[in-house]
């Protein structure tokens, strides 16, 4: 069974407009304006690397793009629909992995992955495919131990394993490399490149520069 | 209506209740207004201090719209 994401088999959503359009996006936190209004477009196969010192609002920007945070001003359109009013199918095309791993400590990585897919109403993917994904993420022997006993790096890998089984076209990754060791970072870079080649889009923030990423546009929040 | 101050204060034997009610109202409302005046003054002194500091220090502090 060749490891790899199910990306190729799923037909990419028919984009009426370029993937993501962000116009005049400004966010506030604690009454202060975080960054000057941001404008950018993201088309298929493009990576946007968001840089900025701590507290500049990188996380808030990403959460605003996903629709979790309400922006102070600005408009975000994904395949033509505004993110606040887009329907479920469109919402499934977006995958957000934030600082927190969104894992249940009592459950094992396999159960967490099944839960993640179940909550996103994805058809019943057979277990072998999930096991392959976890294997690829370097969790081979840890598949059946509850997440509570895993290290921070292993938890992060479990969270990132979702990327291998997701059909989302837009990945929004907030500090994906935290707590990852060097070969995990390489694996991550390789996965992002694979996703871009398959016509996917990635928005990513990171304090360490990710080598080997091609066609990376950067957005600097200062 | 009342023959003399004493009768008025006695309030037909209900003095503690009537004056207890009106007294509490006057006291607490006066207290609320007074606290508000003090809070307002404090706000103004803070602003004045900031204004003085920012003009003397000569560094443009980032304004923020409300």
């Amino acid at each position: 069974m060749r490891p790899g994401n199910a990306q190729a088999s799923a037909a990419p959503a028919t984009p009426q407009a370029p993937g993501l359009q962000v116009r005049g996006l400004a966010c506030r936190r604690g009454g202060m304006r975080l960054f000057a209004p941001v404008d950018f477009d993201l088309a298929a196969g493009e990576l946007l690397f968001v840089r900025g010192r701590n507290g500049r609002g990188k996380t808030t920007l990403l959460r605003a793009i996903c629709g979790l945070t309400e922006p102070a001003s600005g408009e975000i359109r994904f395949h033509g629909d505004s993110i606040r009013t887009m329907d479920d199918a469109r919402r499934m095309a977006l995958l957000y992995i934030g600082h927190r791993d969104a894992l249940k400590e009592e459950l094992t990585p396999l159960e967490n992955l099944q839960m993640h897919l179940g909550l996103r109403a994805v058809g019943n993917i057979d277990e072998d495919h999930l096991l392959d994904a976890l294997e690829a993420a370097g969790l081979g022997e840890r598949v059946d131990t509850p997440v509570r006993y895993l290290s921070q790096g292993q938890r992060r890998r479990t969270a990132l394993a979702r990327l291998l089984v997701s059909q989302a076209t837009l990945w929004v990754l907030d500090e994906p490399l935290t707590a990852l060791d060097t070969d995990a970072v390489a694996w991550m870079a390789e996965r992002i490149n694979g996703h871009l080649e398959d016509g996917g889009m990635v928005i990513c923030t990171s304090h360490q520069p990710i080598q080997g990423l091609h066609r990376a546009r950067t957005l600097d929040l200062g | 209506m009342w023959d003399g101050i004493g009768d008025f204060v006695a309030m037909g034997g209900h003095a503690p209740y009537v004056w207890g009610s009106y007294g509490a109202v006057v006291l607490l409302l006066g207290l609320e207004a007074a606290l508000l005046v003090r809070r307002r003054q404090r706000a103004w002194t803070r602003l004045a201090r900031q204004a003085r500091r920012s003009t003397t220090a000569r560094h443009p502090s980032t304004g923020s719209e409300s």
Partner: protein, 264 residues
């Protein structure tokens, strides 16, 4: 139709609101003082003693207004909460936040005066009368609003959470009042509620209305002043506060007759 559109949002700009309050509050204080003096005079020197309760009924002239104001301010708070949640007008949140302490104080005073009125009339300071119990619960709703606002550090989130709570509260107030009324009638037999306003002498009614007017004016003045202070506390000195401290009026809105009172 009057050509001039009322600029609803004009006074939601902090600087204009500040200036408006600077003009309005002295007038409202004057109205409150006049009504209070008139109400007290009529209440104590014109209204005759009650044939049944003697003079203790005079507490009604302050008890009823505070009770009404408590409920009215909670409803008003909920209206501002809805405006804030629906249109994100910061001024609406400032108003709701400024109403809460005065509303809580009014509710507490109505309980205090109600108890002192109950003592000579029913023989005990506290009786689980339907209205007293519901007013007590209303006080808890006020305290809950203020506690939630204070507990959340981020002001923006705190404002939205408190506004949502005020909305939830105002939907529940009629249910609470109904269930307490229902509960009271089932356990009746204990107490008679004070004589209704039906057979009130005109002078009594006048004292009551004057008292209510004074109470309303007081609440308006204190709330507007607290909202003004709230704005000052939120601003840093480079904002509009610098111009206002020299007290010149902001540009008047198009076509609205602005009371050009003497600069105080």
């Amino acid at each position: 139709m009057n050509r001039r559109r009322i600029p609803w949002l004009y006074f939601t700009v902090p600087r204009n609101f500040y200036w408006l309050v600077q003009r309005l509050v002295p007038l409202i204080w004057a109205v409150a003082a006049v009504l209070a003096v008139a109400g007290l005079y009529v209440g104590f020197f014109v209204a005759p003693p009650d044939y049944q309760q003697g003079n203790s009924y005079r507490i009604m002239f302050i008890h009823v207004p505070t009770a009404w104001m408590g409920m009215f301010l909670y409803a008003l708070m909920a209206v501002y909460a809805v405006i804030f949640l629906a249109w994100r007008i910061k001024m609406a949140d400032v108003m709701a936040r400024s109403l809460a302490p005065t509303g809580a104080l009014m509710t507490a005073l109505s309980l205090w005066t109600g108890a002192l009125w109950g003592a000579p009339t029913w023989g005990t300071y506290w009786v689980w009368d339907a209205r007293l119990t519901s007013t007590l619960l209303l006080l808890f709703l006020f305290l809950g609003y203020m506690a939630l606002y204070a507990a959340i550090d981020d002001r923006e989130k705190g404002a939205r959470a408190a506004a949502l709570l005020a909305l939830i509260g105002v939907i529940n107030v009629p249910v609470i009042y109904f269930s307490v009324e229902w509960w009271h009638t089932l356990h009746q037999g204990m107490s008679i509620s004070p004589s209704g306003g039906a057979s009130m002498a005109p002078s009594m009614l006048a004292a009551l209305l004057l008292g209510t007017g004074a109470c309303w004016a007081y609440c308006a003045a204190v709330t507007l002043r607290r909202a003004q202070t709230e704005l000052l506390e939120r601003e840093d000195s480079t904002g509009w506060t610098r111009t206002v401290s020299t007290d010149d009026a902001p540009p008047a809105p198009r076509g609205v007759a602005v009371p050009t009172g003497r600069r105080n």
